[in-house]
């Protein structure tokens, strides 16, 4: 039955590709989460009226974030080839996709982090200051926990964008389901492969969405 419907699909290739897509997505989500929060915190804290108010740092960070967000992902990968080669030692395979994925997604996530932090009640930050809290206490015990549901739903949205980025990276040799769909599917006119890759990607997206929603709901006690 399966072989009749999908005559050109080689299951071992499909599983390898799925594994690669998961690998790229998970590592890049973790990287994006860390760098995005750092950048987002920097954007938030250096803004007017906040803890580390500093208009120079703020506008530099904002400019960097905006520039990287403006570059289309497919071009960003090409631009980052020398950097990737230097960092990873190759420009092919799932590892080689990671720098571009993280650099492409972190600025986007940073903006979501900034929005999430802005939603934190200023009064709560003030209460912590009135108790004599240091900056790092305010960051780790007030700002981040209080914005956590928004940070989680933000990373969920970003993760889904990242899954689609991995497929794009696949087209230029990063591996994964995008690679499989393009190389073995589209190039050879095997549309059953393209179709099955699509289904797998959609399932992966649903999984991430489900986990994100569940987690965000679980930690929200508002």
């Amino acid at each position: 039955m399966f072989n009749e419907l999908f005559p050109n699909v080689q299951m071992d290739h499909l599983w390898t590709a799925t594994y690669e897509t998961f690998y790229m997505t998970i590592i890049s989500v973790v990287g994006t989460f860390i760098f995005g929060i750092l950048l987002g915190l920097l954007l938030y804290l250096t803004a007017r009226g906040n803890l580390w108010q500093n208009s120079i740092v703020n506008s530099i960070t904002a400019t960097v974030v905006n520039v990287f967000r403006a570059i289309p992902f497919i071009i960003l990968i090409l631009l980052l080839f020398p950097f990737t080669d230097f960092l990873v030692g190759t420009i092919r395979g799932p590892e080689a996709a990671l720098p571009a994925l993280i650099i492409g997604a972190a600025p986007f996530y940073a903006r979501l982090v900034e929005i999430a932090l802005k939603e934190v009640d200023k009064g709560v930050v003030e209460a912590a200051q009135a108790m004599g809290a240091k900056a790092h206490t305010i960051i780790f015990k007030v700002l981040l926990p209080e914005s956590m549901p928004a940070l989680i739903s933000g990373i969920t949205v970003t993760a889904i964008a990242l899954i689609s980025y991995t497929a794009m990276a696949g087209v230029i040799g990063a591996g994964g389901l995008g690679d499989l769909a393009y190389m073995q599917g589209f190039q050879r006119r095997n549309f059953d492969v393209v179709f099955l890759c699509t289904v797998f990607i959609v399932v992966i997206v649903f999984i991430f969405q489900f986990i994100g929603d569940w987690f965000s709901r679980k930690i929200d006690h508002r």
């Binding site: 709560v124 209460a127 009135a130 108790m131 004599g132 809290a133 015990k141 007030v142 006690h221 508002r222």
Partner: protein
């Protein structure tokens, strides 16, 4: 003892400067509940935020625990802030933490060990009457309960002063009274100095020992609550006092009783402290041969005793009326004879 000298705060915005607090000097003895009342925009909120330097003062000094708060550097200020509790109109609790964890937060900041934190938090939960709600989140609590958490949190590091920034303004009247009762019992139990700001005279009347009235950044009147209530000097204070005795609004209705008849006088009596509890009127009418017609009256309890106002019409011979008035005055009640204006 907290002593505030010549405290000023100027806000500079693009197109104007606002003098939010203007040369305020106040002395607050230890263990006192000190109220600051004013309409919105009077600068009272800025004033209380200057005390723990949530706003930096432009001028003046604040002596607290023998230290000038205004001169402290950042690190020292953080240490000192641990000894200044603060509660807020909107409670400002962390929704991501349970009641227990919220109260433990200032202890974490002060670097108290986990065991010690646990002991202290349970003690505080008991003190503010929240036993059994330790594991609830703020969203599961009523407004009054949230403020109780706020109070417990503010007391965690055993502060020498508690600042209350409109602490009851978001609560309904009944809950307000509960919270005020809690503040009084804490004040008595811990001999804790409390500074509160409010726009409700009711709050001042109910729990404060001393009061300062603020208007346009200045303190226009200050002193013992009873004195200020009985003899309000400024227009603003008079308006606040009227909030308490709605009768003052109806003074016009007394006009029909105020005549040029020598056989009748309308007088306003101020009862202060224990005098308010005496059956003075029946005493006078028994001792002297006068008819006393009660027109209207009210009585307000305060921390330092009750204070009441009574309007009566005294009927009789002019000499007897005079005698009655002197009798009343000699018993310590103030008398004001009303005439047509």
């Amino acid at each position: 003892m907290i002593s505030i000298k010549n405290l000023s705060k100027v806000f500079n915005t693009k197109d104007q400067t606002v003098q939010a607090v203007d040369d305020v000097s106040i002395n607050i003895p230890k263990g006192e509940i000190y109220g600051v009342i004013g309409y919105s925009g009077a600068g009272k909120s800025t004033f209380i935020r200057l005390i723990n330097r949530l706003e930096d003062p432009t001028e003046g000094e604040i002596l607290l625990n023998n230290q000038d708060i205004t001169a402290l550097r950042k690190g020292e200020l953080r240490k000192q802030r641990q000894k200044i509790g603060m509660i807020f109109q909107h409670f400002n609790l962390l929704w991501s933490r349970t009641v227990f964890e919220n109260i433990a937060f200032p202890l974490e900041i002060a670097g108290i060990s986990k065991q010690e934190r646990e002991r202290k938090v349970l003690e505080l939960i008991d003190l503010v009457g929240l036993k059994g709600r330790e594991q609830s989140y703020p969203s599961q609590l009523s407004g009054g309960q949230k403020q109780r958490v706020g109070i417990a949190r503010a007391l965690a590091n055993e502060p020498t002063v508690l600042l209350c920034d409109e602490a009851t303004s978001a609560l309904d009247p009944e809950t307000t009274d509960d919270i005020l009762d809690l503040l009084v019992s804490i004040n008595e139990k811990l001999n804790l100095t409390i500074i509160l700001i409010t726009h409700e005279m009711h709050v001042i009347q109910k729990i404060c020992h001393q009061v300062a009235v603020m208007e346009q950044g200045k303190v226009v009147e200050q002193g013992e609550v009873l004195d200020v209530f009985v003899k309000p000097q400024s227009k603003t204070t008079k308006r606040f006092v009227q909030q308490l005795s709605p009768l003052e609004h109806q003074i016009d209705r007394l006009n029909q009783f105020i005549t040029n008849d020598e056989q009748s006088e309308v007088v306003k009596l101020h009862f202060i402290g224990n005098n308010a509890k005496r059956a003075l009127i029946s005493e006078v009418s028994k001792q002297l041969d006068v008819e006393i017609n009660i027109l209207q009256g009210s009585i307000s309890p305060t921390q330092e005793g009750a204070y009441g106002t009574l309007y009566v019409e005294i009927k009789g011979k002019p000499s007897v009326i005079q005698n009655s008035i002197s009798y009343i005055e000699s018993s310590g009640v103030e008398v004001e004879v009303l005439r047509h204006v």
